[in-house]
């Protein structure tokens, strides 16, 4: 770590995550649902299924299928974005599927699909991470068998300083080397299910990034765990 304390635009410490909030069971009509929040970034996830896969030709008789749909609502950012599937929405939907599939045990659901709908209500960067965190909780809430939970965080690089949980100001950082954004998803036991890199980074620093991500996801996991346990507290 560099000796001098680096100043982030919102005054956070380099390894400080924005205020997190999580809630389970927010959508009564869904089979499982959850909300996850990083500061101003709010993601809602709803799970439907396992149900019969339609269209029939995409049924897989060997195992179940996971279908994710990530969507940023038109009012989630300052300038209205065109609603509906965009290149970015489709890409992040696929990424979310890949991040979640390794922990799901959906082998016993042949010809069935589990649908995950992620909606970003309000965005201030790290939306895909908030979405994955919410989706993991919603899948657990829907009673889908899972090996473990996953937690996701984005690590940024402002000039040469690594920071945890990137905000929009930091994503657009122009000084020095510019900004690098690395969203990572880790399971509780520390296995990587998803890692993206937008920008450039050295091999040594990438190792440092993984260390930071491990610490940050441990904190996120605690928030997810607490939310799941609290929602059942009165059922006990």
């Amino acid at each position: 770590m560099t000796a001098k304390i680096f100043k982030r635009p919102d005054g956070r410490k380099p390894d400080e995550i924005r205020k997190m909030e999580a809630k389970v069971g927010i959508i009564p009509n869904a089979d499982g649902s959850a909300m996850f929040r990083f500061g101003d970034t709010i993601a809602f996830a709803a799970v439907y299924g396992p149900k019969k896969m339609h269209p029939q030709h995409s049924q897989d008789p060997e195992k179940g299928t996971l279908r994710c749909n990530y969507n940023m609502l038109s009012f989630s950012v300052n300038e209205r974005i065109r609603p509906g599937p965009s290149r970015r929405n489709i890409e992040i939907s696929k990424i979310t599927e890949w991040a979640l599939e390794p922990v799901l045990m959906i082998g016993k659901y042949p010809n069935m699909v589990i649908e995950v709908h992620i909606n970003i209500i309000q965005a201030n960067a790290s939306t895909r991470c908030a979405g994955i965190n919410a989706a993991a909780m919603a899948l657990a809430h829907a009673g889908i068998p899972m090996r473990e939970l996953v937690s996701s965080v984005s690590i940024g690089k402002l000039d040469k300083q690594l920071v945890v949980d990137v905000s929009k100001d930091e994503e657009d950082w122009e000084e020095g080397e510019g900004a690098t954004d690395i969203p990572i998803t880790l399971t509780k036991s520390g296995e990587i299910t998803h890692l993206q890199l937008d920008g450039k980074i050295t091999k040594e620093q990438l190792k440092e990034v993984l260390g930071l991500a491990k610490k940050a996801t441990a904190k996120i996991y605690e928030v997810q765990k607490k939310a799941l346990k609290e929602s059942l507290e009165d059922e006990k």
Partner: protein
């Protein structure tokens, strides 16, 4: 009985080799890990997880209520709220059926009480060969969350028997969350419906049967 605790997927329930992994759990090394979200329970060293949310998981022996979706050459396709449609074969109907006129027994849209007698790769097989099973001709059908069904039935049927006695209705609870109420008067049926919905709303209260007794006393006034 050991204490029940809330578990989340990937969480270790107990350590040591004295325990056996049951439903919703897995053995990893020396630990028993939960694979589902719910309450963990230890019975005779068998550890299992009771799910409290999610869709209905069909099981052999469950009595379910479904709607006839289609007629085929040799039986009926019935929607019981699962991903796979359930099949009721002709052979499992305890009376003579004219193969050319299946609709005489049950037509599309009819409701039926049936028992799951087998689950395999093709789907779910149903039977109406026991007492209390068969086509529903009259009454009221309501839907509740399938995870709340054990609460509606109560310990050894205590809750449902109480409601039956208080309202004078005949009630059949399907494990898939559909409940058939049959009384002599529509008022009684609606009364039973109100009581059942009260149970599902208050499902987290301990000593729920007592609570319902009080509720009935209050309603009588």
């Amino acid at each position: 009985m050991a204490e029940r605790k809330i578990v989340i997927p990937g969480e270790s329930i107990v350590k040591g080799n004295d325990f056996l992994p049951g439903e919703g759990t897995e053995k990893r090394g020396e630990e028993i890990i939960a694979l589902r979200y719910g309450l963990s329970e230890e019975v005779n060293r068998l550890v299992k997880v009771i799910p409290l949310s999610g869709v209905y998981q069909p099981r052999r022996g469950n009595v379910v209520i479904g709607k006839v979706e289609n007629l085929t050459m040799n039986g009926w396709l019935i929607d019981v709220g699962t991903a796979e449609t359930a099949f009721l074969p002709l052979a499992e109907v305890p009376r003579y059926v004219n193969k050319d006129a299946l609709e005489e027994i049950m037509d599309i849209g009819d409701m039926v009480v049936a028992k799951i007698f087998g689950i395999n790769k093709r789907g779910i097989d149903l039977s109406i060969k026991s007492r209390g099973l068969g086509k529903i001709n009259e009454g009221l059908i309501i839907k509740v969350n399938p995870n709340k069904v054990p609460r509606v039935i109560g310990k050894e049927g205590s809750m449902i028997n109480l409601i039956k006695n208080e309202t004078g209705c005949n009630i059949t609870v399907g494990q898939n969350g559909l409940i058939w109420i049959k009384g002599d008067k529509i008022e009684n049926e609606l009364y039973a419906k109100k009581a059942i919905l009260f149970v599902t709303e208050k499902s987290f209260v301990s000593g729920l049967t007592e609570e319902i007794k009080k509720w009935f006393e209050k309603e009588k006034k």
